[in-house]
Symmetry: D2
Subunit: 140 residues, 4 copies
Amino acid sequence: MKELNVYEHKAQYYETDQMGIIHHSNYIRWFEEARGDLMEQSGLPYKGMEEAGIICAVIEVNVKYHSMVRFDDTVNIKANITQYNGVTMKVYYEIKDKDSGEMRCTGETRHCFLGKDNKPVSLKRVNPKYDNLFKGLISD
Amino acid sequence: MKELNVYEHKAQYYETDQMGIIHHSNYIRWFEEARGDLMEQSGLPYKGMEEAGIICAVIEVNVKYHSMVRFDDTVNIKANITQYNGVTMKVYYEIKDKDSGEMRCTGETRHCFLGKDNKPVSLKRVNPKYDNLFKGLISD
Amino acid sequence: MKELNVYEHKAQYYETDQMGIIHHSNYIRWFEEARGDLMEQSGLPYKGMEEAGIICAVIEVNVKYHSMVRFDDTVNIKANITQYNGVTMKVYYEIKDKDSGEMRCTGETRHCFLGKDNKPVSLKRVNPKYDNLFKGLISD
Amino acid sequence: MKELNVYEHKAQYYETDQMGIIHHSNYIRWFEEARGDLMEQSGLPYKGMEEAGIICAVIEVNVKYHSMVRFDDTVNIKANITQYNGVTMKVYYEIKDKDSGEMRCTGETRHCFLGKDNKPVSLKRVNPKYDNLFKGLISD
């Protein structure tokens, strides 16, 4: 499999809070950015999944904040699918400072897949294309 | 017409930025809160309008920042419909500090109404109930 | 100890996403709102803590999403301090629909306390007032 | 003067609302991103200005929404300084779809400069370096 590019995010002013650091809620949003980028680089963007009538819902988020990201810092975000069984998926994230390589944040999200009626579906059954994508992306 | 209650918003920590004040983008969101509250207090919540297949799209926003709102301040927000012709609407806002009464921000938003296909509709024609609501709320 | 009021939040339009539900990152912000309200109702608002030179940093967030919150829903948010040892603190949250009582989300945040130089401090040592507050609020 | 690169922003899922489009408050944030990029490309990033004790406060925002930006769209954002007199500054923005070139949004922000005590300062007097930057960037 071809090597994927690391996803970069530049910390914006509107993401800071009065502690002078990035507000902790934004890392969850950066996870989402990196997850989307992973799918796009793999050739099957998330947008197409929703267009096919399937939603990838977040059912769990866990975040550990190691050190602070500040305005104007650029961070590298790595997203890896660590579990996928056709029905649920787990993604693990590492956010590091681009310059120093220092770890800023680690976390994981857990997902299930919902059909048009917002009922859980087996991706394996309803969409083999995305099922194959996620199977192929599983790593440790 | 019965007197409406003033809408209150308490400035949250996640709304601050590293200047130690509320980030200017949030006032636009507070305008939306106050606009929704105006409709709700008038007996026709915005939610019902979307359920009836009509969207109230924002086509213009103008904001003047007079003085700073800080974390934990409570502000009073007044929303008044200043123009409405069945097709477009203008809403004017005043945000004042609840304690001191000092003006923090004034602004206005301009809206049009869109049907299910995202095409402009005449509210007057497609939804007399909401048309009447907005007509009745026009003030200076 | 006097009974505390349950904290309420009304889900805003700007908090929705194109799934037609509240974006999952906002619950983290609602946890912060409820945590702040807990301190305020207990007579020692968070603002005073920062004014005394101490920051309550978030070092961990864990969230489980049980069911969806939608625009215009009002939720009740309960925040309980479940662990506090003078140096770190754990807060547990439950978000329920105000009308149906249905569980929407549970979660917890872990915190440490930082002094002006952003170095960890023992709250017990540097600020007995807030130390006593948190000790008095510990529940299961 | 060397040609500046156009600033790009990819519309994120967390920026959408339940209309299925980008929530209108985010464009204000994108203006801020493009303004920061303009300063950075010109060799004097905004961060350095704050480090020198000067804040560039927003005192007015005006936005016209021409057409909708959707999730996963990439937009090009052009920021031009249209007025600068040493004390206040006006910046004009155009947001266009990267692929089609269609206009999505135009707007402007007005700014003043504040010193450490949050009092207005003349940038011309207190910081000739940034004063020269802005003077050099004025265009129509």
